[in-house]
């Protein structure tokens, strides 16, 4: 990219002036997905009698919160310019390891959880090292990891289900119901994790480096940002959060199959993109991805409520994804200069 091509013609206005309220609002990346979520909610409120019922709220928030947690990690990684296609398989791999260790082999549940999460992180370490050392696209490196983990999951529980009828303390911490509300622990954890990573991006040096690494790696490196290390750390963040969210899912459902988390790698990326994260790196927001996850979940549950076959919703999501990306490109805010 040369300096000539990176100069869009959009900035034609002259001297300094104050930005209008509308311009300031348009500058908020979460605005568009937020409005989308409101429209979707209004639509299903009008079309169904029980969109706001406790059962529906439980369904939407539990699906949304695990996708959101996975998507937060994926967003960090996408902002730094890389992808992770292995998160969906990791979403099953990590709880399978946890469950095998403490349900089947009687190891202390907390120790087992730590071991499982360390293994999840190791997956991220391998993804990061393979991508940065061999300089191959992370798309390929993590697609390879996708198949590796899929095979591992197959090998570990070979089509069976691991079930824990009597939830342990660790499982309650990760997946229990919040009092008498229709909400469950994953939702609470989602807010904690989203808040933490919002803070990292906005307030810490590391956040600045993450944006710079994905924005343009050359200048970032020239300014002394350890770009390879930033990417590696974000691969670990992505893998860790996928594994942790998988454990929450296990704790909430009290069981895990090798099919858990199927499509989650694509849903997590979709949530991030719907939330305004660039596919080319350099831009994105944590809360946008959270809203994107709720958008996916609300559509999924809402379509079921109005009688559409459960698996059809992905068709709808697919169309919406493409429209959103086209709109972002047209608005010229997709990946900054690359638009």
């Amino acid at each position: 990219m040369t300096s000539e091509t990176s100069r869009p013609s959009a900035m034609l206005h002259g001297g300094p002036r104050q930005k209008s309220v509308i311009e300031q609002l348009l500058g908020i990346r979460e605005l568009a997905p937020g409005l989308g979520l409101i429209v979707v909610a209004l639509f299903f409120t009008a079309q169904t009698a029980n969109f706001w019922s406790p059962q529906t709220m439980t369904a939407i928030t539990t699906v949304a919160s695990t996708i959101a947690i996975v998507s937060i990690g994926v967003t960090m990684l996408m902002i730094s310019g890389e992808f992770d296609l292995s998160v969906g398989q990791n979403f099953a791999f990590t709880p399978i390891i946890w469950a095998l260790l403490f349900v089947s082999n009687g190891i202390n549940e907390w120790v087992a959880l730590v071991i499982a999460l360390v293994v999840a992180c190791l997956v991220g370490v391998v993804n990061g090292l393979v991508t940065t050392i061999f300089a191959i696209p992370s798309f390929i490196a993590t697609l390879g990891m996708f198949f590796v983990l899929q095979g591992m999951n197959n090998l570990l529980i070979s089509g069976h289900q691991l079930i824990m009828f009597d939830p342990s303390i660790a499982m309650s911490v990760l997946g229990a119901r919040l009092g008498t509300t229709p909400f469950y622990m994953p939702l609470l954890w989602m807010f904690v994790i989203a808040g933490a990573f919002w803070f990292v991006l906005a307030r810490l040096r590391y956040g600045n480096w993450t944006f710079a690494t994905g924005g343009r790696v050359g200048p970032a490196k020239a300014m002394g940002v350890p770009t390879a290390r930033v990417k590696r750390i974000n691969f670990v963040v992505s893998a860790f959060l996928a594994g942790l969210a998988g454990c929450m899912q296990f704790a909430y459902i009290r069981g895990v199959t090798q099919g858990q988390g199927q499509n989650y790698e694509l849903l997590a990326i979709t949530a991030a993109v719907l939330g305004g994260t660039s596919l080319f790196g350099g831009t994105g927001t944590i809360w946008g991805s959270v809203i994107g996850a709720f958008l996916l979940s609300a559509i999924q549950i809402g379509l079921v409520l109005i009688g559409v076959p459960g698996s059809f919703y992905v068709t709808f999501i697919g169309v919406m994804l493409v429209i959103v990306v086209i709109a972002n490109v047209r608005l010229g805010r997709f990946g900054g200069s690359q638009a």
Partner: protein, 273 residues
Amino acid sequence: MSNAELHSGAPESAPEHNHHVDRSATPVFELKSISHSYGRNRVIFDVNLAVWPGEVVALVGDNGAGKSTLLKIFAGYQRPTAGTLRFMGKDVQFSTPAAARAIGIEAVYQDLAIVDQLSLWRNFFLGKEIVRKVGPLNLLDRNEMRSQAQKAITQLGLTRVHTVDEAVWSLSGGERQSVAITRAMHFGAKLLLLDEPTAALSVRETRNVLHNIRRARDQGLGVLYIDHNMGHVLPVADRIVLLELGRVVRVIDRGEVSIEELQDLIARRTDHA
């Protein structure tokens, strides 16, 4: 055309004739008997070159003369195969650009100056963020960085930038370099290296970049730069170093030659070779 533009109505070109470089002081950077080879291919032959504080030195010569290799040696990308480097009077050895930056040698490249998606203040402080300690955390001191960046950018006179919170993808190549030069000055660089800073720039932008080179010089920085356009070299350079096939063949002081003579010098030298 661009040269005429540079002289007409450019207030900063007026005090040029009064500018004097004190060459009795210690040079910022000195190459002593530097030679360099890529494998068995020798490209730099016994070069001696010094840049003094507040001096602009231009490296000129035809393609293959060794300009870029010399600049890379200055910037720490290449370690010379023979000879010594002296920085502020002390022998130094560095093998990475980061090490060169750490002692105050700042290289500015047109296409490596700015991260488009970051706001101006985040760009300005990238890699050198100001933090304040809150408990165990080092938080970005955003207000401090904003106000410092705002001050520096205001001096720079970027009219198209409304606030330092704006993303910088609208900045032109020249503005990017001007920001980078200002940043180098802000962080106390001693030596500024520029590789063809005016390539592909408009007349107005070229003037801005040259103005900022003078500003850096006036603050006592040494500046070394490569340029192909003699019309851009003459107005700012205190000395012009003519390279040919890896050797310094002539050092020209300010005002000794005209643009035409300079162009002839480079062309004729090459014709003979």
